[in-house]
Amino acid sequence: MDLDALAGCLSSSACLVTQTTSGLIIGMLLFLVAVGLTLIFGVLKVVNFSHGAFYMFGAYFAMAAYQLTGSFALAMLAGAAGTAILGLIFERVFMSRVYGADVLMQLLVCYAFVLIFDDVVRIIWGPEFKSMGMPSAFQVMPLFIAGGVVPPYYLLLIGVALVAAIVLGAGLSRTRIGKVIRAAAHNPGMVSALGINTGLIYGGVFALGGMLAGLAGALAAPVRSLTPGMGFSVLIESFIVTVIGGMGSILGALIGALLLGLIRSFGSLGFPLFTEGLMYLFMVIVLVSKPTGLFGKEAA
C-alpha cells in the first residue's frame, strides 16, 4: 500500500490529468467491449464468454492490415469489419444451436472457442508478443493540459468510443431497427409472428457486438502489446463492467467502464499490488447492495 503516492497525485494537477486520461482510455476501451457484451446479453440472453477473443482478433486484424497497407484507417476498418463477419458466422453456425439449452452448455461452447481462437492466433501470428506501433500521423508532440501529458492518440480513442456510445444509444432508441431490436429483446416470439426474421436480428446483434469488441481491439493495438491470451483479462474486466452497470444497460456499461478505468489508474498508485483486488471489491459491494447493478432493471 502506498497511500502517500496517491495523496501526492491527488494534490498535483499534472498527475491528476495524466492519471485521469489514462483511466479514461482504459475505461473507453472497456466500454466498447462491455457494451457489445451487454447488447448480446440483452437481446440474445446469452453470456458471450468468447467476447474477449473478438477483442483479440480485432487487434490482430488491425495489425495485419496496417503492416500490409500502412494505412491506419484501413487497419481500424479491418479490425471492425473482420470481427463483425466472424461474429455473424460464429452466431449463425454455432451459438444459434444452443439457445434453448442450459446456460452451462452455452458457456461450454464459448469456452471451446476461446481455446480454439487463441490457438488459431498462435498458429497464424506466433505465440510471442507483437506490437503494431504508433501510426506516424500520431507521432507528434503530446498535448500539455494543466501540466499533465496527453498523447493525441488518446483523444482520438476517447472520441471514437464516445461517438460509438452516442450512435448506439440513439440508434437503439430512435430508429426503426433499434425499435425492432428492443422488441426482439422483450418478446422474440411476438416479433417473429409479426413477420420479422429474428434469426437475422440475432445474427446482426452478435455481429454488432463482435464489431465493437474488434474496434476496441483495433484501437488498442497501437498502445498495447498483442499476445494470443490478450482477450482474457479484458473479458473478465468487461464482465465486471456489465455486472456493475447492470446487464443489458448501455448507460450502465459506460458509467461502469469509466468507474473501473479510474479505479485502475488511481488504484495502481495507492495500492500497486491490489489494483485488481480493488475492482473485485467494488464489484462485490455493488452486487451485494444492488444485485441487478447500478442501472439494471429489477430481474423479472
Binding site: V109, I116, D119, Y280, L281, V288
Partner: protein, 339 residues
Amino acid sequence: MTELEAGRARALVPVSSGAALQRYRDVLIAVIAFAVLASLPLFTGSKALLDFVIRCSAYGLFATSLNLLVGYTGLTSFGHGMFFGLGAYGFGLIMQKLGVPIPVAFVATLAITAVIAAIIGAICVRLKEIYFAFVTLAFQMLIHSTILSWASFTGGDQGLRGGIPRPTFLGINLANHIHLYVASCALLILGLLAMRQIAQSPFGYTLRMIRDNAARASFLGIDVWRAKLTVFVLAALFAAMGGMVMALFVSGAYPEFAYWTISGEAIFINMLGGVSTFLGPMVGTVLLLLLNDTVTRFTEYHGIVLGVVILFFALGLRKGLLDFVAEWFARRRKTGEGR
C-alpha cells in the same frame, strides 16, 4: 433428465429399507474401489500412473463437490476454485509456519475454510442464478488478488515454496510416494462416500427440490437460504480437501490454484462427465486429465484439440458422457419392456 428423475423417484418409494440397503451398497462399492486402488502399486511400479491417480483424487474431490452445488442444488458457482486454493494455501501455511502434525493441520484447514465459506456464502446464496455466479467469481478473484499481493505471507506470484514438511504420524509417512498415494485414495473414497451420503439423505432431496422449485420448497416450510448456505459450506469443505491433496502432491501452493480458470475447469469437468449422476464429475475428471496428458504430448496446440472435443460434447451429445450413457440404458430398458 426427466426419465432419470422418474426412475430415481420410483426407486425411492420404499424409503426406510431401500435407503438402508442403498447405503450398504454404497459402502460396499467404496470398500471395493479402495481395495482396488490401494492394491494398484502391488501390480505396477509406474510412478506416472500413481501420480495420475493422485491428481484424479484432488480434482475428483473438487469437481464432485461442485456438483453438489451445480447438479443437486442448481447453484452455478463460478468461484468454487477459491476453496480449492484456500485448502492448498491453508494447509501449506499451517504446516510451514506451525509445524503441527498433519491431521491437526488438516482439521484446522477445514475449520478455517468452513468459517470463510460461511461468511462468503451468507452474502452469495441470496442472489439468483447469473448474479450468484458473478458474485462468487468476484470473491474468487478477490482471494486470488489477496494471495498475489500479500507476498510476505503467501509468497505472492511465486507461490508457497520451500516444500511442505511432512512429519510421520502413526507410521504414515507422506514423504513416501506409496504412502501419499494410498492416503490420497483413502481421502478420495471417504470424501466421495460422504458426499454420496449427503446427496442421498433427506437433506439431499431437499436440495433437489430447491433446484426444481425453490418457491414451493419455501411454501413447504423449508428455510431455502439456510439449506443453500449449508450445502455451500459443505461443498467448500470437500473442495478444500481436494486442494490439500493437491498441495501435498506438488509440495506447495500456487496462485493458479485460486485463479478463476480452476473453477472453469471444474465446471468443464462436470459438463464433460455429466451432472445428473453422482459419479459423472469423477468420470469427467479422468476424461479431462487423460485428454490433457495425451494431447499435450502430441501437439503444442492442445487448445484446438480440447476445444473441438468440448464442441463435440456440447453440440453433439448435448450432455455429459455418463448422463448420455445412463439415458441410453434407460431408453434401452424401456424399449425392452415395451416388446
